[in-house]
């Protein structure tokens, strides 16, 4: 088996945009995986939270934009609150979601679903929060 150290390249367009939107420094992450250990939603994720950062460091943004992970993050802030390097993954997840939905016609929340949700007794707060997946 060969092992290599990879120097992250954070100069490509998408990575710069994600850094701007989130104001997070992906180079701060030391890959300890504490974020993944505490994340309550990993059973809905195809890429784990610490792997999200690694892929960002490696410039593989496409994999993230097409992942289930960014839509399964509950924005619970547990990762950020436990990270020893003060990386806030919830902000990176938001930046990734926005990279998808800010493109015209790409909203993840389908407004047609809302009347049904209202019948289900879903509190307004839940529906309004769901607009995190709808571009404003």
């Amino acid at each position: 088996m060969s092992r290599e150290k990879i120097t992250p390249d954070i100069t490509q367009k998408e990575t710069v945009k994600i850094s701007e939107i989130s104001e997070e420094n992906i180079l701060d992450c030391l890959q300890c995986s504490k974020c993944t250990a505490g994340c309550p939603a990993i059973h809905g994720m195809d890429i784990l939270p610490h792997q999200v950062i690694r892929l960002l460091q490696l410039g593989q943004v496409d994999k993230l934009l097409n992942s289930e992970t960014i839509w399964s993050c509950a924005s619970c802030f547990t990762c950020a609150s436990r990270c020893p390097r003060d990386v806030d993954i919830s902000k990176l997840m938001e930046a990734l979601r926005l990279m998808v939905i800010r493109v015209k016609g790409s909203n993840k929340l389908k407004v047609e679903k809302i009347p049904k949700l209202l019948q289900k007794n879903m509190p307004q707060q839940g529906i309004v929060s769901g607009f995190r997946k709808y571009v404003k």
């Binding site: 701007e20 939107i21 989130s22 104001e23 309550p40 939603a41 059973h43 809905g44 839509w71 399964s72 509950a74 924005s75 619970c76 802030f77 547990t78 950020a80 609150s81 806030d88 919830s90 902000k91 938001e94 930046a95 926005l98 993840k108 929340l109 679903k113 949700l117 007794n121 879903m122 509190p123 307004q124 707060q125 839940g126 529906i127 309004v128 929060s129 769901g130 607009f131 995190r132 997946k133 404003k136």
Partner: protein
């Protein structure tokens, strides 16, 4: 004592129990919560993107209104609290946001995050005091096995919410103890209920709420209290939830009960 009060949309609709029990209890405690005029929906999620301005404006309008009256701004819904408190922090600490928002709103005076935002629980703990509250209890909750559920939004991020220890909070337990309850401790009290994922990720949420309910049940809890309408909704949708085994209510409903205050039934 006069406070500005921000209700938010859920308290006027699906979570009327939360508002009514809170307002009636406040009255019994000699606290005057005056609903703000023309408040607007806070958006329910704090805009995590640094380049969003429009979604912060409604919070700032409420913050400014409270500042003009010289009153603290009291919130009840965990989501509203999180949004308004974090936006206020931005107005205090982020020059670019402050400038853009002030330019847009054209206020008489620039707003720089002067208002103090407190959650109803902080009003009870810090302004009234749990000792004083305990003295007003008419119907003790003695013997009732109650578990506190915090969720995420009141606690995290700690540096901004400044609410309690995010890993080992005690405010809800202290509150329940002063009402006479038998407080049940359990490991999942600060774990996320899934929040807005219930809109399109019900299966993911099921597992999250089941962890919480089974953890509380295992420790012998018969009741769970929460401050958040969406937490309550998600917990009640757990396949392990069964009214006979465990009931879920707002902390203010127990407060009203202990103070022997009437709350209208729907």
């Amino acid at each position: 004592m006069n406070y500005s009060y921000y209700p938010g949309c859920t308290l006027k609709t699906k979570a009327r129990d939360l508002e009514e029990s809170a307002l009636n209890s406040a009255q019994a405690l000699g606290v005057n919560l005056v609903e703000q005029e023309e408040w607007q929906c806070c958006g329910a999620v704090y805009p995590l993107a640094s380049d969003e301005i429009a979604t912060k404006l409604s919070s700032v309008r409420s913050l400014v209104a409270a500042h003009e009256k010289g009153e603290k701004l009291v919130t009840l819904c965990s989501a509203c609290h999180q949004v308004i408190k974090r936006v206020n922090h931005d107005m205090k600490t982020k020059e670019d946001i402050r400038d853009k928002v002030n330019n847009y709103l054209q206020l008489k005076e620039d707003y720089q995050g002067e208002s103090k935002v407190i959650h109803y629980l902080e009003l009870l703990r810090d302004d009234i005091g749990f000792e004083a509250l305990a003295k007003k209890v008419k119907v003790s909750l003695e013997g009732r096995k109650i578990a506190a559920y915090y969720g995420c939004l009141l606690l995290r991020p700690k540096e901004i919410m400044e609410f309690d220890d995010p890993e080992r909070p005690t405010v809800l337990e202290d509150f329940l103890e002063c009402l006479g309850a038998n407080v049940i401790n359990y490991p999942y009290k600060t774990e996320c209920c899934g929040g807005y994922l219930s809109i399109d990720k019900e299966k993911v949420v099921q597992k999250m709420v089941n962890n919480i309910i089974s953890s509380a049940l295992e420790q012998g809890a018969k009741e769970i209290v929460t401050a958040c309408p969406l937490c309550k909704y998600n917990l009640e949708n757990s396949s392990l939830y069964n009214k006979e085994d465990i009931s879920i209510s707002y902390f203010t409903e127990l407060l009203a009960e202990a103070l022997d205050v009437d709350v209208k039934e729907d």
